[in-house]
Amino acid sequence: MFSTDILIGVSLIYVAFLFAVAFLAERANQRGRAKWLRSPLTYTLSLSVYCTAWTFYGAVGFAARSGLEFLTIYLGPTGVLIGWWWVLRRLVRIGRAERITSIADLISSRFGKSTSLGWIVTVLAVIGTTPYIALQLQSVTLSLAVFGQGDGAVNVNADATALWVAAGLAVFTIVFGTRNLDVNERHSGVVMAIAVEAVVKLLALLAVGVFVVWGLAGGIGPTLNLIDTSPIADWSVPTGRWIGLTFLSAAAFLCLPRMYQVLVVENSDERHLATAGWAFPFYLLLMSLFVVPIAVVGLKMMPAGANPDLFVLTLPLSAGQNELAVFAFLGGFSSATSMVIVAAIALSTMVSNHIVTPIWLRAAGEGATVSGDIRSVVILSRRLSIAAILGLGYVYYRLSGGGAALAAIGLISFAGVAQVLPVMLGGIFWRGATRIGAAAGLIAGFLVWAYTMFLPSVGTGMFLSDSILNNGLFGLHWLKPRALFGISDLDPVLHAVFWSLLINTLVFVIGSLLTNPTPLERMQAFQFITAFDSGASPRSWRSGAAESEDLLLMAQRILGATEAQKLFRRFAQDQGIEGYLPSPTPAFLDDLERALAGSVGSATAHAMVGQMVAGSAVTVEDLMAVADETAQIMEYSHQLETKSAELTSTATQLRDANEKLMQLSVQKDAFLSQISHELRTPMTSIRSFSEILQDKGLKAADRVKYATIISDETQRLTRLLDDLLDLSVLENGQVTLNIETGTLGQVLDQALAATDIKGQVTVLRPKSRESLSITTDLDRLAQVVINLITNAAKYCDAVKPQLKILARETDTGIEVDFIDNGSGVPRGKRDLIFEKFARISDEAKAGSAGLGLAICREIMTNLGGSIEYLPGQKGAAFRLRLPHQPTV
C-alpha cells in the first residue's frame, strides 16, 4: 500500500517547512515588518489550537458513536465567542494591562500575587493537560500505524513512534518557544506556524469530506439518504448531556492553558477579538461540515470493528487515494503538533514562573537579584519543563495503554482544566473573592475531578482498586467514584463535571465569604474588576441636600481655611453668586471632589463628598477603595522611608570611608616625611664628614674621629633600613614564624647577650620563673626583649638605673613585665609610644629612629600576644602577654 518510510519523510519535510515559516515570521517580526503577522486573520487561525487531533480524527469517531453530540465540542467555543465576548474582552484587557503571562499568573495576580495559588493552578494545568498531550501522541502513532498495516513487513512499534514524536515536538517547542525571553511572552514565529497548520488541517478535512461525499457516496443527495438510513441519525438529543458537554467545552475554551496563551497572551490587539468573534465559529463550522458524512460513509463502507476514530484516514486509503490519505495524515499531524507545541509553551511558562523561579530565588537568596543570571535560569527551566511535560504525556500514553477512545481522554482533560473556571470568573467579576477561598475551591474541585474522572481513567488497579470503584472509598457507597452521594443514573462525564464544579464553586464562595482579603488582594481585585472603568468618569453627583456651609467646613479641614475659602469664593463667582457659598450643584460637587482628591486621594475624596451629600450613602465599595488607597499610600511612604534610610546610611558610610582615606593619606604623608628625615640625617653627616676628610691638612686625630662618625652613621642607616623592612614584613603579616619551645631564662640570656648595656642599667631577672616554658618564635620574642632592655638603658633617668623583669602564668598564657626605676612615660604620650617614629625624648640618641616599640607591637601581634604600657608603676613599665600556644 504505502511505505511508512515515505510517510515519515513527508512528515519531516512538513516539519522543516514549519520551522522555516516560524523562523521567517520571527525574523520579520524582529525587523518590524510584521503587520501581516499581527492581523486578525492570523489571530483567528491561531485559535484553532482548540481543534486538536481529537477534533480532527475524534469528531468522526464521536459522531459514529454518539451521533450529533460531537457538535457540543464546537458549540461551546462558539457560544463563548458570540455570547461571552465581553468575558473574553475583559480577560484580554486585564491580561494586557497587568502583563499576565499565563492562566496561573492571572489567578495568582488577582489574589494578591499569591505564590501558592500560582503553584496550585500550574500543577492543576499540568495534570489536566497531560492526558491531552498523551492523546495527541496516541493519534499520531495510531495514524502512522494505519499506513503501516498494509506494509505486511515490519509492524510499526507504536511505543517507539510515540517516543520519537514526543522528542521531536519537544525539540521544536524548545527551539521556537524559548529562543528568547519576551516580557510579554509572545512567540510570533510559533503563532505563524500554528496559523499555517490551521489552514492545513482545515483543507485536509475538507478535502477528505469532498472526496467522501462526491467520490464515494456519489453526491449530496445520496449522502443525505445514507445519513437518513444510518443508525446514528437518531436526531434525538439528550438535553442534560448536551448542556453539560457544551458547558464543558466552553469552560475549557476559556481555561485551557494553551487557549489562554493564544487568546490573551499572544493577542496583540484587543480589536482582533471582534474578527475572531465571527471568523472562528465559521472555521469551526467548516471543520464540522463533513464530520457526519464521513462517519456515516465510514460505518457503511468499512468492515465492522474498524476504528471510527481513523475513518478520515482509512476511507481514502481503502479507496486507493494514497495522496489524499497522506494529506489527511498531515492534517491530523498538524492538529496534534500545534496543540502540543502551544500547550508545552504555556505550561513551561507556568512551571518556570510559578514553581522553578520562586524556589530558585529562595534557594539563591539575595544574591540572585544582583547577579542578573536569572535570565539563563528561566530559559533553562523552560526548556527542562517542556521536555518534562512531553515526557509526562508519553508516560501517561504508556500507562493508559492507548486504550481509551480519543474523545474520552479529551473530556477528562477538559473537565480537569475547567476547575479553574469558577475562580477565574469570580476573580474578574466578584470583589469578595479571596485567596484562601480560591485555593480551597481549586483544591476541592481538583480532588473531586481526580477521584471521579482522572484516576478511574488510568484503569483500575493502577491507583483505584476495583473495590473502591464498585463499593466506594472506605467502603462508603456514597463515595463511589462514579456515583457520588448515590446519584448513579447520571452519565459518568456529566457526573464528574457536575460534582467537581459544584463542590469547587461552593467551597470557593464559602471560603471567600469566611475570609478577609489582604490589602494587596483588595488592590488587585480593584484593578481587575474595574478594568473597564478607568478613564471614564464613573460617578457624578446629583445635587442633593448638602449645605454649602457643611461642605466648606469639610474642605477647610482638608485644604486649610484660606485655601478652602478662596476655592469656594471662586466657585461662587462662577455661579454668579456674591460671597463664598456657591449653591451645591452637581458640577460644583464634581469640582470640589477633584480639588479634595489632590490632597487626600480620589477614593477618599469621593467618600467624603458622598457622606456630605444626602442621598448618596457611602458604599462598602467606596470604603474599600479608601482602604486600598490608604494601603497604597502607606506602602509608598514605607518605600520612601526605606529608600531615605538607605540613602542616609550610604551617605554616612561614604563620609566615614572618605575620612578614613584622608586620615590614611595624612598618615602616609607624615610617615614618608619621617622616613625621609630619618634617612637624610645620617646621610648628611656622612656626606659632610666625607668632604672634610678630603681636606689634606686635617689632623690625624680628627681624621680618625670623623671616619668613626661616618662608620657609625652608616651603621645607623643600615639599622634603620633593616627596621623599616622588618616592620613592613610584620605589618603585612608576611612573616614566617619559627615556633619552638624554650624557657624564659633562655630568651633572656639570648637578649642580654645581644645587647651592650654594661654599666648603663642593671637587669634584675625573675629567678623563680626562669624555667617558665614558652612556645612561640623565640628569636622574635628575644627581639622584643632586646628592644625593651635597650630602651631602659637609653631612657631610664634614675641615678642607678635598674630594670626589673617579673613573670607569671595566667589562665590564658604567660605575662612578662619589664619595669625600670626611671620617671616613666608621661601620661599623655603613653598611647603614642607604639606608633612609628614616635620618639618622645628631648634629645635624639643616635641609633634610634623611634621604630623599636612599633616593631615590638607588630611582633607581639604576630605571635598572637600583645604589648602594652603598664601604668601605676614607678618607672616605665611594659607588659608582654603570650598565649600558651601560638594562634597561628
Binding site: R680, T681, S685, S688
Partner: protein
C-alpha cells in the same frame, strides 16, 4: 670683627660638621639643640645669622622662625632653613614665614659656606 652664627640643630654629628667647616672660614658657631628655648638663645647670643633645622624636639623650626620674625629685634636677621624636608610645600612655607635661604640635607659643605657667606654679607 668675627661673625658668629647660631645653629639650631638636634643632631650632634651635624653640629660638629657645620661648626668645623665654618670655623675654618673664621665664623664662630653657637649650637642649640632643643626647640623649646630656641628664641631665648637667639636673644641671649644675638647672632649675625641663624641656621635652623625644622624637625626639632618640642617645637618645630617653622614655629621658631615665626617666633624670631615676630620679635622686633630679629625681624630682619638672616635665617637659613637647613632641613631634611625637601618637598616644595615645605620650602614655600619657609619662604612665606620669612626664611632668607632654604637648604636641604644632605648638603655639600661648600654650598653651606657659600650660602652663609652670602647671608652674612647681605646683613
Amino acid at each position: 670683627m668675627t661673625k658668629h652664627i647660631l645653629l639650631i640643630e638636634d643632631e650632634p654629628n651635624i653640629i660638629e660638621a657645620i661648626t668645623f667647616i665654618l670655623l675654618r672660614k673664621g665664623i664662630k658657631v653657637d649650637a642649640h639643640s632643643n626647640g623649646a628655648s630656641a628664641l631665648e638663645t637667639v636673644k641671649s647670643t644675638n647672632p649675625d645669622a641663624v641656621i635652623l633645622d625644622v624637625m626639632l624636639p618640642n617645637r618645630s623650626g617653622f614655629d621658631i622662625l615665626q617666633d624670631i620674625r615676630e620679635d622686633t629685634d630679629f625681624a630682619e636677621i638672616p635665617v637659613m632653613m637647613l632641613t631634611a624636608r625637601g618637598q616644595t610645600k615645605d620650602r614655600e612655607r619657609a619662604m612665606e614665614l620669612g626664611a632668607t635661604a632654604y637648604m636641604t640635607k644632605p648638603f655639600s659643605n661648600s654650598d653651606v659656606i657659600e650660602a652663609i657667606t652670602a647671608l652674612l654679607e647681605g646683613a
